[in-house]
């Protein structure tokens, strides 16, 4: 939640009574650094103008459509994701937010029939270019999944997995990386005495933080999070959210969430997706409705559908 730092917004209270308490509780915790960059007009301009030439733009999606075989799951998405920010994708089920997220590190390659049209630039390079290796892409763009999915190995081996794949062999180097990553994921103090025990013996929240530690151990520049807290209780969720704010100075984070309050609490910018139903085929296609600084999305969205969604009147 970043919006309240430059002054309480009365508009928030008016449009979203549900959210107000959350805002107030978290107001003191919000981080100020990124907000100062946000002036509404500048951002509004960005969402209109193409972003591909900006150096600080990590991802530039230009007219991205995703197909599953013949079915168009998402159409013509244009988004620019900026470095060291948390970008949230929100929207109702089936609106394609996870689909778009999984295109960003080419996880959709694993689904037979999945196809991407348009351009996704990662620091100016086309992610789907013919000489780009999906394996190499994922080495730089990590992912945390909805359900914690630690390997059935020890805590240590889970974190060391990525570095080992990348060729780190020396034990002291691995030890250092594991400690650093677990500290980075705020897990070190809880597990330092049982690094060799199975990761499956941890609680759900710990497992998810282990997955974050595992992702940051390969030192990616981006971490994608696909509803990382949906399987966790509120306390574990709060810890993950705090963690996200802590690590965003080192990583760029894109998070998909069903939880609007979460988007409001943690993200700098929010993209709102919704579904369009094709009356002829009764197929649902996801569309990007609005992409703007989180503050703007939740206080004075420019699209009526966004306003209805964030105020809980639809979706």
């Amino acid at each position: 939640m970043t919006t309240n730092a430059d002054g309480p917004t009365n508009a928030t209270a008016e449009t979203s009574t549900v959210m107000t308490t959350e805002y107030d509780q978290k107001a003191s915790m919000s981080d100020q650094e990124s907000i100062t960059n946000f002036t509404v007009p500048a951002v509004a301009e960005e969402t209109v103008a193409p972003l591909s030439d900006r150096s600080e733009t990590v991802f530039a999606l230009e007219d991205v459509s995703v197909f599953y075989s013949a079915f168009k799951a998402v159409r013509e998405v244009n988004i620019g994701v900026r470095a060291n920010e948390i970008t949230a994708f929100i929207g109702p089920s089936g609106c394609g937010k996870s689909t778009v997220l999984r295109c960003l590190n080419r996880m959709n390659d694993l689904i037979p029939g999945a196809r991407v049209e348009g351009r996704i630039n990662f620091y100016g390079t086309d992610l789907y270019g013919s000489d780009v290796s999906a394996t190499e892409v994922r080495r730089h763009i990590g992912m945390v999944f909805q359900k914690p999915n630690p390997f059935p190995k020890s805590i240590y081996d889970n974190v060391a997995f990525g570095p080992r794949v990348n060729g780190v062999k020396k034990k002291d180097e691995l030890d250092h990386l594991v400690e650093k990553s677990l500290k980075g994921a705020a897990l070190w103090d809880e597990v330092k005495d049982r690094l060799k025990t199975s990761a499956l013996g941890m609680s759900g929240g710990q497992q998810q933080r282990l997955c974050i530690a595992r992702a940051i151990a390969v030192e990616p520049s981006v971490i994608l999070m696909d509803e990382p807290c949906s399987a966790l209780d509120p306390i574990a969720t709060a810890r993950i959210e705090d963690l996200m704010k802590e690590i965003k100075s080192r990583f760029t984070i894109v998070i998909v969430t069903h939880n609007m309050q979460q988007a409001a609490r943690v993200s700098d910018r929010t993209a709102f997706f919704t579904t369009e139903i094709n009356p002829a085929s009764d197929r649902r296609t996801g569309v990007l409705v609005e992409y703007a600084p989180t503050k703007q999305i939740f206080s004075h969205p420019s699209d009526i559908r966004t306003e209805q969604y964030v105020t809980g009147r639809f979706g």
Binding site: P112, T135, M143, K147, N149, F161, V165, R214, V218
Partner: protein, 310 residues
């Protein structure tokens, strides 16, 4: 509200029904409960019926074979097979050696091929036409009678190279192969997609993911599948009849010369009318049973040990 019952008709007939009582939670008699009871009883009975033959086999084999095996133990397991059938006494040494060597060789051929085949089918082939054909043929192979497999090896191998343990091992390996492919593929299917995704998301290549994530996760199942196939192969007789022939002396060279196994010796000795040979047949049966039992226990321990790491 839902848990309270208004008294009407039962106890407090004419009174105004404002009082509430706890609902009657005692088991009600009904046809459904009766059916459930009958089915439970039937299932229990089927278990007993299914177990009876196993129990009788074990009891009979131990009863008839124990005296041969344990007289002067472990001489029965090491001494050569007497050339005269009427001679009473040990042993089965050459057959024990032959069984272990030929089964080991068959395992060495079938397990790597089977695991690689299953990995191909599940991880790489998927639904491609070639994978479908391979999967179909492997299923067909499961149904090939073992004697036909023996005949096949006899024609393409034994006629050219003569009797040898290798021929027997090949026949056994071909019998094991479809069992291994099938069970390993099922085990690979059980590895959750989320683990594969977790590995890919760290920038791991497909081959590395299979080697370091998928196979280790499936390992307990893979091991028990393989050992099941081994236990099956150790007891086969038919494919060995034409491929290894039989001898009464130990032949440690599986690559040349006739050989023998416990199953082969049970077959020939049990056919004899002489009590010496028959005693040795029962002893060989008990030994084979013990070996199969041992394999099963090893499989269990191995599975438990590998899954304990999870």
């Amino acid at each position: 509200m839902a848990a309270t019952t208004r008294i009407s008709g039962i106890g407090g007939g004419g009174q105004p029904a404002t009082r509430t009582v706890a609902p009657d939670l005692r088991a009600q008699k009904s046809w459904r409960r009766t059916k459930s009871g009958i089915m439970q009883w039937l299932m229990g009975a089927s278990i007993v019926v299914a177990l009876l033959p196993v129990i009788f086999v074990v009891i009979t084999v131990i009863g008839k074979g124990a005296s041969s095996v344990f007289t002067g133990f472990p001489k029965f397991l090491t001494a050569a097979i007497p050339n005269q059938e009427r001679k009473v006494g040990p042993g089965m040494g050459p057959a024990v050696v032959g069984t272990l060597l030929i089964t080991a060789l068959a395992t060495a051929i079938a397990v790597p091929l089977g695991i690689l085949g299953a990995v191909y089918l599940h991880e790489y082939g998927g639904r491609s036409p070639f994978a479908k054909v391979v999967r179909f043929l492997s299923n067909v192979m499961t149904g090939v009678p073992s004697i036909v497999m023996g005949l096949f090896i006899y024609v393409i191998f034994t006629l050219n190279f003569g009797y040898s343990g290798l021929g027997g091992a090949l026949a056994l390996a071909f019998l094991m192969l479809p069992i291994i492919i099938r069970s390993v593929e099922v085990m690979l299917k059980l590895v959750p997609t989320s683990l594969r995704e977790a590995s890919y998301a760290l920038g791991t290549s497909k081959s590395r993911t299979v080697l370091t994530v998928v196979l280790p996760s499936a390992l307990p199942g893979v091991i028990s599948g393989c050992l099941l196939a081994v236990a099956r192969a150790a007891g086969e007789t038919a494919p060995l009849l034409f491929t290894i022939f039989t001898v009464n002396q130990t032949n440690r060279n599986v690559f040349s010369g006739a050989n023998t196994t416990l199953s082969r010796q049970i077959f020939s000795n049990a056919l004899s009318s002489l009590s010496g040979a028959q005693g040795r047949a029962w002893g060989a049966a008990l030994t084979l049973l013990a070996i199969a039992f041992l394999f099963t226990i090893i499989a269990r321990i191995a599975s438990a040990r590998f899954s304990a790491k999870r």
